[in-house]
């Protein structure tokens, strides 16, 4: 706790100084327990701990999830499910890592699963939300998830401007075809076609690299 307070002040004053600090930290001091307060809460009452955890991490987890799944609604559902399961299965009693590590890992696994199902079309878009965390066929290195969401973002950037806009209005904002058609002065049919083309394009870009086969290697940008 104290350590985190110091680094935040450092950041406000001098970012360069902060960088040096980090490089110089010995291992023990590099891992302060900034979740101590939440841990204490769990010792008292699981619900209270969960509430604190939710307040602390909901926003950032949703932000992280949306980088993968591109939809605010799906990201929020995904994160909410994780918190529900966390309480229902009393994960806090057996957890060995920090809450933050557990939550982020779980978000990434589920987001990966969701993408796998929608891009491979194993199941429909809605049904994909129901699949829990399966340990089979997940990227085994942490860093590969960064690669994944960056590929997702790059793939979206390759869409032509108007198509990208329409795709994001539908997937990210969750607007319906009719709403988008009104907003942009297009016919709903045009909107539908654009979205379908965008989805196919994204699927093609991502599928071969990520969702076929069991070997993942960091190769760099998809072109």
């Amino acid at each position: 706790m104290r350590q985190t307070g110091i680094t935040r002040i450092e950041l406000a004053i001098d970012p360069i100084l902060f960088q040096n600090m980090d490089a110089a930290l010995p291992d023990e001091l590099a891992a302060p327990d900034d979740e101590l307060f939440i841990r204490r809460a769990f010792e008292q009452d699981g619900r209270l701990g969960c509430e604190l955890l939710f307040r602390r991490y909901y926003d950032t987890l949703c932000s992280h999830a949306v980088r993968f799944v591109s939809s605010k609604a799906i990201a929020e559902d995904l994160v909410a499910e994780i918190f529900c399961q966390f309480y229902a299965e009393k994960v806090f009693q057996t957890i060995t890592v920090s809450y933050r590590a557990y939550l982020y890992k779980t978000v990434r696994h589920r987001a990966y699963n969701y993408l796998r199902q929608t891009i491979r079309r194993d199941t429909g878009l809605e049904e994909a939300q129901y699949q829990g965390v399966s340990s089979a066929q997940q990227p085994d290195a942490i860093a590969q998830y960064e690669e994944l969401y960056q590929d997702v973002e790059r793939a979206i950037q390759t869409l032509p401007i108007q198509r990208r806009r329409i795709y994001l209005l539908h997937h990210f904002d969750g607007k319906k075809y009719a709403e988008i058609a009104d907003e942009l002065g297009l016919s709903p049919r045009t909107v539908e076609v654009q979205i379908r083309r965008a989805s196919h394009h994204l699927r093609d870009l991502l599928r071969d690299k990520w969702f076929i086969g069991l070997l993942w290697v960091i190769t760099g940008d998809i072109s």
């Binding site: 960088q19 891992a31 950032t60 529900c84 229902a88 299965e89 129901y130 699949q131 829990g132 860093a143």
Partner: protein, 350 residues
Amino acid sequence: MNEHINKQRLFDYFAGKSTALEKKQIDEWSREPAQQEQFYRWLDEWEQAHRQYTTNLPVAFSRYHDFLYADQAVSTNPSPAEEPPFRSIRPLSRRTWLVWAVAASVTVLVGLFAFRDQLLTRTYETAYGETRLVNLPDGSAVTLNSNSSLQIPRFGFGEPWFGTLWFGTPTRQVVLTGEALFSVTHTTTNQPFVVKTANGPEVVVLGTEFTVFARPRGTKVVLNRGKVEVHYQQPDHQPRQVTMKPGDLMTLTPKGELTHQQMQKPPANPPWTEHRFVFDKTPLTEIVAILAENYGLTAEIADTETGQLTISGAYSAKTADELLRIIAEVLNIDIDLKSGKLILTQKPLQ
């Protein structure tokens, strides 16, 4: 440990600004279990500084809070010694593995029921002019008419354990607004299937086929096959129950007046599932209500006399336009569009 790995490096990495070499270094570094906590600590910090959008935390938190404290209302809790079964969330599939279909046709019109939104439910909705078939995990099927919605539990539909923990009752429970045809499968454990509606009756069935109509103007249930119990409340808040047999039609007005009648020949499927309308001396006022409910179309009738005109027969109409044209022809009515509203007037007799 690689000395070059620091927070700024990771921030660049999260933002996609690293070189291939840097990425490789970070990948190696993050594989060390000792570094993973640090990785996530920095990831969280970076996300805090680079939010993709603004969430509605108060609303989400309030829902989560409700979820956490929901089981305070449940009377029975699983004993701590019980090992919770592994949560397998099955995707909605057409496979029916507990089932043989006992079908009964009931058309029920039920009042709107505002079900409290929880994180644990999932809602299917139809737009104006749309019908949709929804398959439930237990093998039951629901066909939704236009402008309707069906809310089902997200987890463990039909699984007794989940029912006990999260709902206090066996969970074949759905909430309907609008109109739908239900084909409910009979489970080997005789688990009831409950259709709740807004402020009105609940339909409890074992295995049956029935239609429920639940709109602001009233509630109707028609039973095709099987047996259902309809639980409702009279205005005096006394809970009451009525058992229906095939061919029965039950109507409940918003005021709470109940009528229970035998229909001569209940239709095999409600006509709207095939884009047909069947009218039996139906007054224009009711047709206008149907247009509003199913197509979102507001139409005004010029005078009360015109409103009393009735129409009978079976008609096919896929869209509101088609239906309007049919009515105009059969009843000899003018349809004018004035300042965005449809006005229906009887043509002068010639």
